[in-house]
């Protein structure tokens, strides 16, 4: 039985447990709800939980570990000639075995007997695994129901137990976010450490050349590839800078206009329209940049006798800036609206004009919040992927010329990991090292920005 079916079975058993609990409780109480400690529902939930919790854990655990365990069993069962293959070929082989077992298309031309044996073994393994799982599931859930049923008595504090369990579930859920962060940090660190065993960290951080292609032969020149991240970091900074040159002034002025000048009606229309900009998928911006903006600048360059690459940092940066406008404007708008009205009145009362009030009173008062919003914008620019993947280049040029093609950290992560990959090569692991840099930089920016913004909020609360 497949996992969705098993989940369905679990759900049915749980519902059965619920009704069993209810009726059992009423029976023990002689049909009088008054005699029960808790409402009959809670006895239903009680049995339901005893059934669902272990069953759910079992299914999820099985699902997570099944593949790994079966793979190792399969490898152990392969003839030596196969199991001693290098990791990359072995994984290809396993894939074929699985495909063969499922009756799918297989990548190799000749299907030898060993492979067929392995496939048969795998198919058998698969059936055994599912049957075993079904058996254990039924045993565990029914066991749970029986145990819980035995405990039901009028004075069982079912509500308290159920609430305690609910609380525990909620606490577990709330830790998922922390676990995610932990997972990100650990996986990035772990893979990066493996990368740094192949490439020295200093070469990575300060190296001026990036050409990660690995050689075909071991003795070839540049067999290890060059992993100097400086051109990528410089490219990221160049594009982010261009983006912020668009997003910061436009976003800020738009926020000023909306919070200080715009009549309520205009504000009511313009604000959602601006937010549409934030809701457009980045892949759409990427397409727009590559299809419309980049050729436009190229043509413009030709008119002025400049060579502007069709993958120029300029086009990617400007489109990214457009994407970031609403992030800057909506947060800046919020912080400016939070500046107390009394400060505005104080300034108007002295005969200041609106723009004088804005420039000399409101902006200085809202400055921390505005800085925070711009920092968040920068963090978004650095982490943005699709626009640069589609509109910026792959060539790791170390240049500050916005008309040339540059590449960024995110572009390289995508290039290194998309397509066929051997998992242990420096090339693949380099992506995680780049990811680590990206994560650290954006994390620091976010923490600074959020701290500033929160401090600012407290000031006017």
């Amino acid at each position: 039985m497949s996992f969705p079916v098993l989940f369905g079975v679990l759900a049915l058993l749980t519902i059965f447990g619920y009704y069993l609990g209810r009726s059992r409780a009423l029976k023990t109480a002689g049909g009088q709800v008054r005699n029960l400690h808790s409402l009959p529902n809670y006895y239903g939930y009680y049995i339901g939980l005893w059934c669902a919790a272990p069953g759910f854990l079992l299914l999820v655990g099985w699902m997570a570990l099944e593949n790994t365990i079966m793979d190792s069993m399969l490898i152990a069962n392969l003839p030596d000639s196969m199991s001693s293959l290098p990791a990359a070929e072995l994984s290809l082989l396993l894939n074929d075995v699985k495909n063969l077992a499922n009756g799918d298309i297989v990548s190799r031309e000749v299907i030898d007997l060993d492979l067929k044996d392995a496939a048969a073994f795998y198919g058998q393994l698969l059936t055994t695994s599912k049957m075993l799982l079904t058996a254990i599931l039924v045993a565990v859930t029914c066991g749970g129901i029986l145990v819980a049923r035995g405990r039901i008595a009028p004075d069982l504090r079912a509500r308290n137990s159920v609430e305690k369990a609910a609380m525990a579930i909620m606490i577990i859920c709330s830790t998922i976010a922390v676990l995610t962060t932990l997972g990100i940090i650990l996986s990035l660190l772990f893979e990066s450490l493996r990368f740094f065993q192949m490439v020295h960290p200093l070469d990575f951080v300060f190296g001026l050349e990036w050409s990660p292609q690995t050689a075909l032969r071991k003795d070839q020149v540049g067999a290890t590839g060059l992993f100097g991240a400086v051109p990528l970091l410089a490219g990221t900074m160049l594009i982010s800078l261009i983006a912020m040159c668009v997003a910061a002034p436009v976003g800020l002025m738009a926020a000023i206009y909306m919070s200080e000048y715009a009549p309520t009606k205009v504000r009511g229309t313009v604000k959602p329209l601006l937010e549409i900009l934030a809701g457009i998928p980045t892949v759409v911006y990427g397409f727009f940049a590559a299809l419309t903006v980049a050729p436009f600048f190229r043509g413009l360059g030709l008119d002025f006798g400049l060579t502007i690459s069709s993958e120029s940092a300029l086009a990617a940066g400007i489109v990214m800036g457009i994407m970031i406008i609403p992030f800057v404007s909506s947060l800046s708008d919020d912080v400016m609206s939070a500046v107390p009205q009394s400060l505005r009145e104080g300034s108007y009362g002295l005969g200041a004009t609106k723009s004088e009030t804005i420039k000399q009173v409101i902006l200085p008062a809202a400055l921390p919040g505005i800085v925070g919003s711009i920092l968040l914008g920068v963090s978004r620019a650095i982490g943005e992927t699709m626009i640069v993947v589609m509109a910026a280049g792959l060539a790791a040029n170390l240049t500050a010329n916005p008309f040339e093609a540059v590449t960024t950290v995110t572009v390289q992560i995508v290039t290194l990991l998309v397509g066929d990959q051997e998992f242990d090569s420096a090339k693949t692991l380099a992506a995680f090292a780049l990811g680590l840099i990206l994560f650290c930089v954006t994390l620091v920016l976010n923490i600074i920005a959020l701290t500033i913004v929160n401090k600012y909020r407290e000031q006017y609360d």
Binding site: A64, L65, N67, E163, A166, M167, I169, M170, C173, S174, T175, I176, A177, T180, T181, G183, I184, L188, P249, V250, G251, L252, Y257, M258, Y261, V270, L273, L274, L277, I280, P281, T282, V283, V284, Y285, F287, F288, T292, T353, S355, E356, S379, G383, E384, T385, M386, V389, M390, I413, V414, L417, F432, G435, L438, F439, T442, L443, N446, I447, L450
Partner: protein, 442 residues
């Protein structure tokens, strides 16, 4: 009430009593008002720029997308000779499926152009028809084997280049070397047109097919189903997790170091670049747990982790907006904390939570980068039937097509974007509607 004597006192009289800087103030006014107007104009300019770019983006994409919704077809009369298809006359599925339908079409085409004889010309002639035409006839014959031996008129798609020519995307007057259609092919096409065999129809393939290398056979249905399965997984995972953690953090959590850590962590997680989640998915779900690559279930899990903070933050603010008086009233009647939440607070907060969820799902629907990391970028022709089948999603399909060199893919990319944006608009309108419908003033 007033002593009206000095009503008529002149300005000079009144101003004598003051020693102020009227003069200086007056002198500066003109300059100050100019600055005021300038500043306001900058604001309007900024908004106009943003709106203009939004408008430009939409018009570019919509105008590029429109041609994709039609397809140039040819109504070709073919003869299904039994000796070509089923010489033995067994009508076995295997035979019918692997028969040489290419020959059938080719023959019909050569009959139309008896003057084309050279091998090269014949190949170019045949290139005008989509390779997909073969499958069209095969499916037709397999559905109704009685057609064998008949003469039938079949409508089949023409190749993407001819399609582009017909729609005017490839200009006939441009030099032959700069276009993908030969002069000869143009002439043949005009002959077909003159005989009334060419027809432009609504492009149903685009909405019903999976991906293909041939633009005229490519559709978004596969990607849309992939998106659907991915979103289902995302919703099923993130919604309960987010609501449970929001309730705990907002209603029960004691204020201490640990809960503060969780809070800071959630806020930061919301701003982590999406590609990092992709790396997490690759390292943990695929490499560590050995889950299948390219499967919506993995994509859904990654996107669920990504949208989790968004939904938690929205759910918390929705819970916060339920006034304490409701809770106090319920507690006053002896309800347990969990009963207060499930009976009173949660139903009142639900519209807000759902709004946040829709917005989070809309974000996830448009997300591309993390899915590239977990292999959802593969070229997949089949329409997925479940969350474990290899699949791609709409934004990734857009990315793949945007990368394709064929001109016809540009319009299909734009059309796919329109479809994606339509879904996003529907979701956001739903969110706005929900907010308006259940908006409560406490």
């Amino acid at each position: 009430m007033t002593d009206a004597a000095p009503i008529m006192n002149g300005p000079a009289n009144g101003s004598l009593a003051t020693r102020n800087s009227n003069d200086a103030v007056s002198r500066g006014l003109k300059r100050r008002y100019a600055a005021e107007r300038r500043f306001k104009a900058y604001g309007i300019l900024a908004i106009a720029f943003a709106m203009g770019m939004l408008g430009l983006l939409f018009t570019t994409i919509v105008s590029k997308a429109i041609p994709a919704f039609t397809q140039t077809m040819i109504n070709l009369e073919i003869t299904l000779y039994p000796q070509d298809i089923d010489p033995a006359g067994t009508r076995e599925r295997q035979t019918l499926s692997s028969a040489n339908y290419r020959k059938v079409i080719r023959q019909a085409f050569y009959d139309l152009f008896p003057d084309v004889t050279s091998r090269r010309d014949r190949r170019e002639l045949f290139d005008m028809i989509s390779p997909g035409a073969v499958y069209e006839i095969r499916d037709m014959v397999m559905a109704n084997p009685n057609l064998i031996g008949e003469r039938v008129v079949v409508q089949m798609p023409m190749s993407d280049d001819i399609d582009q020519l017909n729609k005017g995307q490839i200009r006939k007057d441009s030099p032959e070397t700069e276009r993908r259609v030969k002069d000869k092919q143009i002439a043949w096409f005009e002959r077909l047109e003159n005989r009334g065999l060419v027809e432009t129809v609504f492009n149903t393939t685009f909405f019903t097919a999976g991906d293909s290398r041939e633009p005229e056979l490519a559709g978004i249905f596969g990607a849309a189903m992939g998106s659907l399965f991915t979103m289902l997984v995302t919703l099923l995972v993130s919604f309960p997790l987010a609501v449970a953690s929001a309730i705990y953090l907002e209603e029960f959590a004691p204020v201490n170091k640990w809960t503060q850590t969780i809070e800071v962590n959630i806020n930061n997680l919301a701003a982590v670049p999406s590609i990092v989640f992709g790396l997490l998915g690759l390292a943990v779900f695929i490499n560590f747990f050995g889950m299948p690559r390219s499967a919506p279930v993995v994509g859904g899990l990654v996107l669920a982790l990504m949208t989790l903070p968004t939904i938690i933050i929205a759910a918390r603010s929705a819970l916060k907006s339920v006034p304490p008086s409701i809770r106090e009233a319920a507690y006053g009647l002896g309800a347990s904390p969990l009963q207060v939440i499930t009976h009173h607070v949660l139903p009142l907060a639900m519209p807000g939570i759902l709004t946040g969820t829709i917005i989070g799902m809309a974000q996830a629907l448009g997300e591309t980068a993390p899915l590239l990391m977990i292999g959802m970028v593969a070229f997949i022709v089949d329409v997925p039937h479940g969350a474990l089948d290899p699949a791609t999603v709409l934004p990734v399909q857009i990315y793949l097509w945007a990368d394709s060199p064929e001109r016809a893919f540009v319009e299909r990319t734009s059309a796919a974007i329109c479809v994606l944006l339509a879904f996003l608009v529907i979701m956001n309108v739903g969110a706005v509607f929900l907010r308006k419908r259940f908006e409560r003033k406490w």
